[in-house]
Structures are given as C-alpha cells and as structure tokens.
C-alpha cells in the first residue's frame, strides 16, 4: 500500500503509516441544536481517530452531515462525512463534495443509503442517480484528475480521503469479495464493514479479500457494535436487513442476567476487536455504539487501543 498521503486526513496518515486505526460514529440530532453534537463530541474525543457523521441514517430526517461535520471540527475531532445516493443527484452530490471539502472535511464515506421506506418520510421520491460505486469513482476523479463527472475542470480539487462500506454478511455471499474489488477499481481507499458478530463468516470473506490481494489496495476496518442488552441483540438478529448474529452469541446474551448484559455486550465487542487484530488484512476497527457514545472510550481502552497516536 502506498505510504504517501493524498490528503491532510489524520485517518489517512494513521492508516498509511501502518498503525491500527480506530473510527467511531456520531449521529446528528433531529433538530437544529448544535449542542447535541458538541456533547457527543465530548464523549468521543480522543477515543478514536475519526468519526463518521451519518447522513440521514435509516432515512430519518436529521441535521445534515456536512453541517454536523463542521460542528465536530469546531470541537477538535475529525469527521468522516457520510454521503448517500438516495437523496441527491450527481449535481447536488458534487456540489456537496466541494462544499464539504471547502469547509475543511477530509474524509468521506460513499454509500447507497437505506431505502426511504424505513424512515419517517416513506412517501418521498428516491433519487439513486448514482450508486455507491459510481459515487466513489466520481469523487476520486474530482480529486485526482480534477474533473467533474461532466468532464469540466474542477478549479480547486476536494482533498478527501475516500471510504465506503461493505457488508460481508449480505447475500449473495459469493459476490461480496468481487463487489469490494469493484469498489477498489472505482477508487475507494478505505472500507468500514457492517457490524461483525459472525467472526467465522467474516474470516471467510476476509480470506477472499486477502487471496485477491485487495487488502494491499484498500484499508479494511472491521465494524464492531456492542450489544446493550439481549433485546437489542435479538432485534439486530431479526429485524435489521443484512445482519448476521449467530445463535451462540444470542444465547450468551440471553444467559447473562439483565443487569450484567451491557457489560457482557462490551466484553463481546472487546473480544471481537482482539480477534480482528489477529486477522490478516485488517487495518483497523470501526466502533459503532449507536446512542451509546460514552462506551466507545471504554471499549477502545479495554481492547488496548488507547491512547490514540498523534500524527
């Protein structure tokens, strides 16, 4: 993997210097109060290298990813601006890429986006002018070739470190490695995976990634989510599309007394991180503690990932 950074991203510096990276996640509020983000930033600060700011996740309207990213930067944290293809066409997408970069955003995550059916505006029209792979290609071309999708010159290129998500557990399984290969060919530089609970299946996918040499072309960050309770584990197992929670983990949560379940969830997350660190081709972890931001530090601490390096 090239050690030369293309951007000023701290996440990129850490990854390219061969250090194990940690990213976290921060969901913007359903209102215009910036204090919500500032408070979450207080909980997250120094516990990871960069933090995803979600873009209307699960199709529920929230403060925009760009503005939340700016608030996060004011608090001294590095955001990864998520961008979904659901809500914008290529004109708006490229415009927001320029805007985000101009405001100082240094990382971007390219996603297709959840279907609007899941959100609070199921009657909305979806866009999907581009898909995530075409979006990766668009931002990479803007940055490295200085060209818009339409072919005109970009005057002042957006210096963004380019990421995407991949779900090794979704079907059909056999194209999950080829799909990553397509993202790599399109120009992606780092990948955050869906929450990993089924380590065996993840290992199979990772082996495919390594066999194709993709781990030498893209940094793979394994996704980790702590269960807060057995109820949450069961919900994720049954109600979240593309999520794979093995029976034995459910049982382990179920057999834990209620008041100890949160602790057990964190223990599982820490064990998962430890196993991921042993796996060939893994460059870091992405800790998603949804509405449980205060636990990111504890998980990182227990997994031996703190303090975070200064670069």
């Amino acid at each position: 993997m090239s050690v030369e950074c293309k951007t000023d991203s701290r996440l990129e510096k850490i990854l390219r210097s061969g250090q194990f990276a940690v990213t976290g996640e921060c969901g913007p509020p359903r209102g215009a109060d910036p204090e919500v983000i500032r408070k979450k930033c207080g909980l997250l600060k120094n516990n990871a290298d960069a933090f995803n700011i979600t873009d209307n996740q699960t199709s529920v309207v929230r403060m925009s990813s760009i503005s939340s990213s700016v608030i996060m930067m004011q608090e001294g944290l590095e955001p990864v601006m998520q961008m979904v293809c659901r809500d914008r066409n290529r004109i708006a997408i490229q415009s927001d890429i320029l805007g985000g970069a101009a405001l100082g955003v240094k990382n971007m995550l390219c996603l297709s986006g959840d279907h609007q059916k899941f959100g609070d505006h199921p009657a909305a029209k979806n866009v999907f002018d581009l898909d995530s792979i075409q979006l990766i290609h668009a931002v990479r071309t803007m940055r490295d070739e200085g060209k818009f999708m339409g072919g005109d010159e970009v005057k002042g290129v957006p210096k963004l470190f380019i990421g995407a998500a991949e779900n090794p557990f979704a079907d059909p399984f056999e194209i999950r490695v080829p799909r990553l290969a397509k993202k790599v060919a399109a120009g992606v530089e780092f990948i955050q995976t869906q929450c990993i609970f089924n380590l065996k299946k993840f290992g199979e996918w990772m082996k495919g990634v390594v066999d194709r040499g993709l781990h030498e072309k893209v940094f793979v960050l394994g996704g980790v989510t702590p269960f807060k309770s057995f109820g949450m584990a069961r919900y994720m197992a049954n109600n979240v599309p593309g999520m794979d929670v093995p029976e034995e983990l459910l049982k382990r949560m179920k057999d834990t007394p209620k008041e100890k379940q949160a602790e057990e969830g964190i223990k599982i997350a820490v064990e998962t991180i430890q196993q991921l660190r042993e796996m060939k081709g893994i460059s870091g972890v992405h800790i998603m503690a949804i509405e449980w931001e205060e636990k990111v530090g504890e998980i990182a601490q227990k997994a031996g990932l703190l303090p975070r390096p200064t670069v």
Partner: protein
C-alpha cells in the same frame, strides 16, 4: 404490457359528481388483458355507478363502450358521434389512452378510471409484476436478462446493496432481490465475469429525465 389498476370507487364517484350523462370507455389493449379496463370491467363500473347514484336519488345515465385501443387516433375517432352527447368521458385505458382521448376531444372532460401502475406481465392469471421502467437504453445484456433499474428498489447498477438477505430485498421479504436473481442467472450462464465490469453512471437522458420522449419511424413519415 401496461398494467393498470381500477381507481377506488369513491374517487370515481367524486369525479362524477354533478354529471348527468357520461360515457365509460374501455380499451381493448393491455388493460383488457390485465382485467382492469376492458369490456367486462366497463360493465361492472357502469352498474356500480348507476346503483350508487340511484341509491342517492340522483341517477346517472351511462353509455358503455369499448374500442380496440385508446392510444391510437384511428380508434379514438370511432366514438366521435357519442362524445357530444355526454358530460364527460370516463376512460378505462392507461394514462396514454386517457390523454389520446383528451387530445382529440378538446372540449370534453376526460377522466381516468384507472391508476396506471407499471410495464410488466402476468405470472399467472390475475397476478402482474413489473419488469421494465422504459429507461430507453436497455442494459439486459449485462445483467443476465433481469432489469436492475425496474427490479432493484434502489436501481443500483453495480450489484446488491448491503440489505439483500436470503435472496430478498431489504424493503420487503416478499420482494426478490434483483441482484440475487441477476447473479444466479449470470452464474448459471457462466457469465459471472460480466459482474466485475463497472457500470458507469447512467445517462438518464433517454429516460423520462430527458423530457417527454418520442419515437419516429422516418420511413413512415410523408
């Protein structure tokens, strides 16, 4: 074919409010095949309307008629003598038929009795599914004959999203994941290498996004 569904009766009743005499006009094309807008359905809707209006003490006179196709001026002309007699025409054709009628009979209100839903076919009698979104640039060569634009809920061109589970789409466990179907088919045809090509951003100009479309056979223009 074009699939249409009958509008809710209440909505049709509302459109007919205040009218004394109407024509309910069926279409012998697609909507006859999908059992929503042909001769038989004209009869059903007309009797429903008559009954409801009789019950309300406000009877309505209805002329029932079905022509070969409403999307063709030659057939639309055939009702020329009836149209002046009625207050409005209730077309049971797809949206194209309704508009051909309205274009011809400019002085007469023409109302839709169907909701035009999609381009598709029948799996079995009375069971219709969407297959094409008329994007104007067919991609089925690359996708094993299964359309990602019409059948993937997000119209993704480069493979399934992360929500595909056990062959089903994230939006509904009854909806097949188009990309699962595409992959299965490419595999069985020994064409999996086609999946690895990146499909570039689509040119939507041939789609409705480029404005209303037309197709002209120059050799037929005189």
């Amino acid at each position: 074919m074009v699939i249409g569904e009958r509008k809710p009766f209440d909505e049709i009743m509302r459109m007919a409010e205040g009218l004394k005499k109407i024509m309910v006009l069926g279409c012998g094309g697609c909507v006859t095949v999908c059992l929503t807008g042909g001769h038989d359905e004209v009869r059903v809707l007309s009797s429903q309307l008559r009954m409801a209006r009789d019950k309300a003490g406000n009877p309505i006179e209805i002329i029932e008629k079905t022509i070969e196709r409403q999307c063709d001026p030659e057939y639309v002309d055939q009702v020329e003598s009836i149209v002046p007699e009625v207050d409005a025409v209730f077309s049971m054709a797809c949206g194209a038929g309704v508009q051909f009628m309205a274009e011809k009979y400019t002085g007469k209100p023409v109302y839709p009795s169907l909701n035009t839903t999609f381009v598709g076919g029948s799996k079995k009698e009375g069971y219709y599914v969407e297959r094409c979104q008329t994007c104007g640039e067919c991609k089925l060569y690359y996708t094993g004959g299964i359309c990602p634009i019409a059948r993937c809920s997000k119209s993704l061109l480069n493979g399934p999203c992360g929500g595909s589970t056990k062959g089903k789409c994230e939006i509904d466990p009854d909806v097949d994941c188009a990309w699962q179907l595409i992959i299965d088919r490419l595999k069985s045809l020994g064409m999996m290498d086609r999946y690895e090509d990146i499909m570039p951003a689509n040119d939507w100009r041939t789609n409705r996004d480029g404005g209303p479309r037309k197709m002209i056979r120059e050799d037929f223009q005189r």
